[in-house]
């Protein structure tokens, strides 16, 4: 009886168990199939490459005219002068993106932690749906909302900030203190853009947080940790790279946001200013959207040069982001090959 219960297989030394390489010749149908799939993969690469090549080809004339001054000149009147550049447009774009991230990353990460760690199961799914819906709402609706709903209501807050927080240089107000000078400021554009970045940061961070290993969570609890202590010592360190990657993807989105920024900003001059509460300010995307119909061929080439800078910039940011995510401990689980 006892003998019958013993397993038949004796565990041998593990070196014997080398998987045999399986070599099967693909059939004709399979070769066509694999070829098609590979072609689709190449097509994706090709489209990206073509965007780059065509933008470069069409903007060389603008780079030729402006020379290196394209990166150092602050004014942008490409039709009348050879002295034009993005030295004001790019920093403005970046400043709006930074404002957006400064709001979106804390809010997004907090929401992600709430969904993955705190929310009861009954509200977990609806909340995820709301975040997904927030990402699905078109940017033109954000723009309408920002221009007609948010702008009139935020001006008072802007004024309060400029009066009471002006010790922070960013919030200093150098113009005449009338309410009209607060209209169309980069701060407001940044807030609207941040609302579009929140769902990106939230959903990516949530996915990473929910993968934090159960064993380590329970270990933290077993050592007497509170839930916040567990989050601080297990979940946040585990998801750090994911949050960084998510923020960078959000940065890419914020840099490229067009419609909301175009609606809200009132571009006055091409002078870069860090006083975000003042009206004025510009961005690469708003410049392209506002002037592409008005410019002649020379001007359009200059706008395409702007677009090329934007594309290269966001492509680098986004690629770095996905590399950061996939190299991290948490990302390795999802993107492992």
């Amino acid at each position: 009886m006892a003998v019958a219960l013993t397993p038949h297989v004796q565990p041998g030394p593990p070196t014997d168990d080398v998987p045999r390489p399986i070599v099967a010749r693909a059939s004709g149908g399979d070769r066509v199939f694999r070829g098609t799939l590979r072609a689709a993969g190449i097509a994706v690469l090709l489209i990206t490459l073509m965007i780059l090549i065509f933008l470069i080809l069409r903007s060389t004339s603008a780079f030729g005219r402006a020379g290196f001054g394209f990166f150092t000149t602050a004014s942008f009147f490409p039709e009348t002068s050879n002295q034009f550049g993005i030295a004001a447009l790019l920093p403005d774009s970046a400043l709006i993106a930074v404002i957006a991230l400064a709001i979106a990353v804390p809010v997004g990460v907090a929401t992600a932690i709430y969904i993955s760690e705190y929310a009861a199961h009954a509200i977990q799914r609806p909340l995820i749906a709301v975040i997904d819906l927030m990402a699905a709402i078109p940017s033109i609706i954000y723009a309408l909302w920002g221009l007609f709903f948010l702008m009139p209501r935020i001006l008072g807050f802007d004024k309060w900030l400029s009066h009471h927080a002006s010790f922070i240089p960013v919030f200093r107000f150098t113009k005449t203190d009338t309410i009209g000078n607060y209209v169309g400021a980069m701060f407001i554009a940044g807030i609207v853009v941040s609302l579009m970045v929140i769902p990106i940061v939230t959903s990516l961070s949530r996915q990473v947080f929910s993968q934090a290993p159960q064993g380590e969570r329970e270990a933290a609890y077993a050592l007497g940790s509170t839930r916040w202590g567990m989050i601080r010592t297990v979940v946040l360190p585990f998801g750090r790279a994911g949050v960084i990657g998510a923020s960078m993807l959000g940065l890419g989105r914020a840099l490229g946001e067009t419609i909301a920024v175009t609606f809200i900003l009132t571009p006055l001059t091409f002078a870069f200013s860090i006083h975000v509460l003042e009206g004025g300010g510009n961005s690469i995307t708003a410049e392209i959207a506002n002037f592409y119909t008005q410019y002649d061929a020379k001007g359009v080439a200059a706008l395409l040069a702007c677009g090329l800078v934007l594309f290269v910039f966001t492509l680098i940011v986004n690629t770095l982001a996905s590399i950061v995510i996939s190299r991290s401990r948490s990302g390795a689980l999802t993107a492992a090959d």
């Binding site: 969904i115 929310a119 982001a321």
Partner: protein, 441 residues
């Protein structure tokens, strides 16, 4: 004889090896036990009842095993109650409500009466900061510092979720309210703006041209982007390798590509280089470029969770790779793929920036996407608000926003309904059909 502290999988193997010998009647119970182990580790008691034949056969092993498992429970004395995480207590919710009310009152007095502030938004920002401070103070009165901090963190995290809900409701609601006056007119749905001036009242003209344009552009864009996106996703999931990794990185980067760049790309290639005039077709290509990476990325995620065992079963039956993909992988992932496509469509219909550069703008109805400018809903809103900006146009713009939000909400709901089931899980209808088929056989 097996060792007394044999692990559970070992026992399962023993049990399965033993049972077939004890007669045909115990067959079903064996299958049941195997099923149990496949899903989750069951308790010992349950399992013993499920396999009656085992009780006598393995009697010498069992008492030792039982004792070692039951020992900690016996020492603890009274029966354990399960600790429920994610539960709210009465003190917790009272503290929360009290802090919210107290800070509301205090902010109202300070903000409206004492200090010269103004603006609705500033009020709520001050309220929130004060609320967190009061909540922490009240929690500190009742609990020690660790627990108070824990509660404060919970409330702070939760407010992020609340904010998201408020924003979504606010945006949708605001668009609906402002747009309702325009969409209430029947002509808004059935006419184009061809005969309306900048200040014509709402009873003249409508956005039919923009709706037709949106539908046609979206259909064409879906036609371009979905086959390419899903094939690229299959490449990533089914073939893999070094190039797939590069493609995946690029696809991820393109998901967050500025949509304006897609418009610039089409402008440069189709309009400047090939000399095609601005048209709905160009707009559709631009939308397709922005939709493709979304489809590819979402589809790849779905294809990856198709169980590998299904593929192996198909290969074991001798089918080729493309047969496996066509007959096993794709049908299994159908619901997820449909969700990916519908979500990408929801994104695509709201795209403004790519369309802005390449579609042109017209007030008239144009049903041919291949010639002449074509207006879509987002493009109409952009022109109405940003370019024209008269009162009547802004009202129409909000009306178009109303339509757009309804369409996006509808697509989103459809995507949620389809995506509710995991890959391979059958809907009720499919289950009924399967039952009918087996009955006929």
């Amino acid at each position: 004889m097996t060792e007394p502290n044999d692990d559970r999988t070992g026992m399962a193997a023993v049990r399965l090896a033993k049972n077939p010998g004890s007669g045909a009647t115990s067959r079903p119970s064996t299958a049941k036990a195997a099923d149990h182990y496949g899903q989750a580790a069951p308790t010992t008691g349950q399992d013993d009842q499920a396999v009656p034949g085992y009780r006598q056969g393995a009697q010498p092993v069992e008492p030792v095993d039982r004792a070692s498992q039951a020992a900690p429970g016996a020492d603890a004395g009274p029966a354990e109650t399960r600790v429920r995480l994610r539960r709210t207590s009465a003190e917790g919710s009272t503290t929360f409500t009290a802090a919210a009310a107290a800070s509301l009152g205090l902010v109202w007095v300070l903000y409206e009466r004492v200090l010269p502030f103004s603006g609705v938004l500033g009020f709520w920002v001050c309220w929130y900061v004060l609320f967190l401070a009061l909540y922490f103070a009240m929690a500190r009165l009742q609990w020690d510092r660790l627990e108070a901090r824990n509660r404060l963190a919970g409330v702070a995290f939760g407010s992020g979720g609340v904010l998201a809900v408020i924003i979504v409701i606010d945006q949708v609601g605001y668009t609906f309210i402002k747009g309702s006056s325009a969409v209430a007119h029947a002509n808004f749905w059935t006419r184009s703006l061809a005969f309306a001036g900048p200040d014509s009242p709402m009873s003249v003209g409508g956005v039919l041209h923009a709706m037709v344009g949106s539908v046609e552009e979206l259909a064409l864009a879906t036609l371009f982007s979905v086959p390419l996106g899903i094939t690229a996703a299959l490449f990533l999931a089914e073939i893999g390798g070094g190039m797939a990794r590069t493609v995946r990185t690029i696809v991820e980067a393109m998901t967050a590509l500025p949509d304006l760049v897609a418009g610039l790309f089409v402008y440069v290639t189709l309009i400047l280089t090939l000399g095609i005039s601005k048209s709905g077709f160009c707009a559709a290509v631009a939308i397709g470029v922005t939709m493709m990476p979304i489809v590819a990325r979402a589809s790849e995620v779905v294809l990856r969770i198709v169980p590998g065992a299904l593929r192996e079963a198909s290969y074991a039956l001798g089918s080729s790779q493309w047969r496996t993909v066509w007959n096993v992988v794709l049908p299994t992932a159908r619901s997820g793929l449909a969700t990916a496509v519908v979500l990408a469509m929801a994104r695509g219909i709201g795209e403004t920036a790519p369309v802005l550069l390449v579609a042109g703008y017209t007030k008239e109805l144009n049903v041919n996407p291949f010639s002449g400018p074509m207006t879509s809903l987002p493009l109409f809103i952009y022109n109405a608000v940003h370019i024209f900006g008269t009162k009547a146009y802004v009202e129409r713009g909000f009306g178009a926003g109303f339509v757009l939000v309804v369409v996006v909400l509808a697509l989103f709901t459809i995507a949620r309904r389809i995506g509710g089931s995991a890959p391979g899980e059958l809907t009720n209808r499919q289950r009924r059909r399967l039952a009918r088929q087996t009955e006929q056989q």
